[in-house]
Symmetry: C2
């Protein structure tokens, strides 16, 4: 990360925050007015920056987590495709998701009766309340439960056949979230889901993390999930600007979704609609080959 930068193409003479992503050799940056908060919690370092064009920016352990301007892409795609695939999800759990943006999108669905968010680091949520208040609009919904606890332990202890949808909205599989990408976690999640229940997990960049994606899918399949589906979508603030989530279903195929439901949805979105849902299921040629589809 750096403090000041100029180029022919920058007519602002401003300061820039850059995430230098060593794994892919690529970087994403935002012009900033300054850092408005920094702290080290028992779990990680968290920074909040004020940008010139993207609202607030949250950075955890040097990695961009979200900006005010573009988080709608990720949050909508973590919530709506899975909920318009499940016939009627009553009991939803979010692992991670401390900024509460996914929770807000989940609670737009009237069929959801309960959504438990299990975030390990309460400070993420407290900072979201302060700097991303629009994402926390649904935190007081009577259907929402905010727990600050270890998602691995939560899922290991979850009652079998009790959940319809589990959403893993975590940081990268290196660091605190590593355990959310292994077979033990997938087996525990499978057990906690009802038949027909769906796990959806953020699954990194289709381009620069394609081997990680293949490995993750292989572990999901190896843990006993019946069907998998990876969806791709743009996400400017993440490495390569292109991201994915992967659905894994218990005991039932993952072919279509409730298109009619998506078309007549009663809430507003910024990115998601039925066409976008269908579009996200298209698999690029190179990814078909890597995933062996």
């Amino acid at each position: 990360m750096k403090d000041s930068d100029m180029s022919e193409n920058d007519n602002s003479n401003g300061q820039w925050f850059h995430e230098l992503h060593g794994y892919s050799g690529s970087a994403i940056g935002f012009r900033v007015e300054g850092r408005v908060h920094a702290e080290t919690t028992p779990y990680q370092s968290i920074e909040i920056w004020k940008t010139t064009d993207w609202g607030h920016l949250m950075v955890i352990d040097g990695c961009v987590m979200l900006t005010t301007r573009d988080n709608f892409l990720y949050h909508e795609m973590m919530a709506h495709p899975v909920l318009f695939t499940h016939p009627r999800a009553k009991n939803v759990v979010i692992i991670g998701g401390g900024d509460c943006g996914t929770l807000r999108e989940v609670l737009r669905h009237d069929e959801v009766e309960s959504c438990i968010q299990v975030e390990i680091d309460e400070r993420v949520t407290r900072l979201a309340e302060q700097y991303f208040p629009e994402l926390c609009e649904a935190n007081d919904d009577p259907r929402a439960q905010l727990r600050f606890d270890d998602g691995l332990k939560f899922m290991a202890d979850a009652e079998p056949e009790s959940l319809d949808v589990v959403i893993v909205d975590s940081t990268d599989p290196i660091g605190p979230a590593e355990g959310l990408f292994n077979e033990e976690f997938y087996r525990n999640t499978l057990r906690a889901l009802k038949t027909g229940g769906i796990l959806v997990q953020q699954s990194e960049s289709p381009l620069v993390h394609s081997e990680l994606l293949r490995d993750m899918r292989s572990k999901m399949k190896g843990s006993g999930f019946a069907a998998l589906r990876t969806l791709c979508f743009p996400q400017p603030c993440y490495p390569s600007g292109w991201w994915s989530c992967t659905m894994a279903r218990k005991g039932v195929e993952l072919d279509g979704f409730r298109e009619r439901g998506a078309q007549i949805k009663t809430f507003k979105t910024q990115y998601y609609n039925a066409d976008i849902h269908r579009a996200a299921m298209a698999t690029p040629e190179f990814l078909r080959q890597i995933l062996g589809e």
Copy 2:
């Protein structure tokens, strides 16, 4: 642009090239081994960098033009959707496109009998031959004509009703390519196209340039094109990592495409397939509102 940069997330201690995009307040960067070429032509400054993970990188006037690793997304999406929309494109013109990547993709189509590439700056093509030789593989195809000339003048002088497809593969609408985004150019292109002929033009980021996109579509429509269609696709090396092209058709609607043709295509692609084509036509909710769809 800068020479060296480090952060917690960068375990390489390498050098980084950043494009600081003043208009959107966002930046894209690549880890580089060094700059292998720099020159100023009568039209622009051109640099070639060697990156650690993205092959070669071409930069024009400080803006990233392409990398070896991700140019397939843009080049395939500039060529295949329009050619699988037109029933049988025999005569194709590319305005710009000096790196020859779009030309290569166009010539994969057997129905194309002639493809004229009109690039104003011969040095772009000569440097592509040296640093991106794979993109120039089709330059010796007998159907290809490489002209180094002003695309505006070419289109003003083009014989009426002579072309099936015109592809505008240019730099941004600020600078040398500005004239390619105005009504005079669109009227000339409309005149040069046969009925049913299609103009396709790179149309910037759906997220950060949405107003420019709306303005461009309005000028296309105002110039007499019968139907428009904007397609979105990922492009990591361009601002926001998300890009678009817009098709404009003369006298005929733009509803579908030759899906069966795309499914049984006889050439290989890395991104494009029939599902991806359909997916690219999905319009995000926010863009529907901005474009008034």
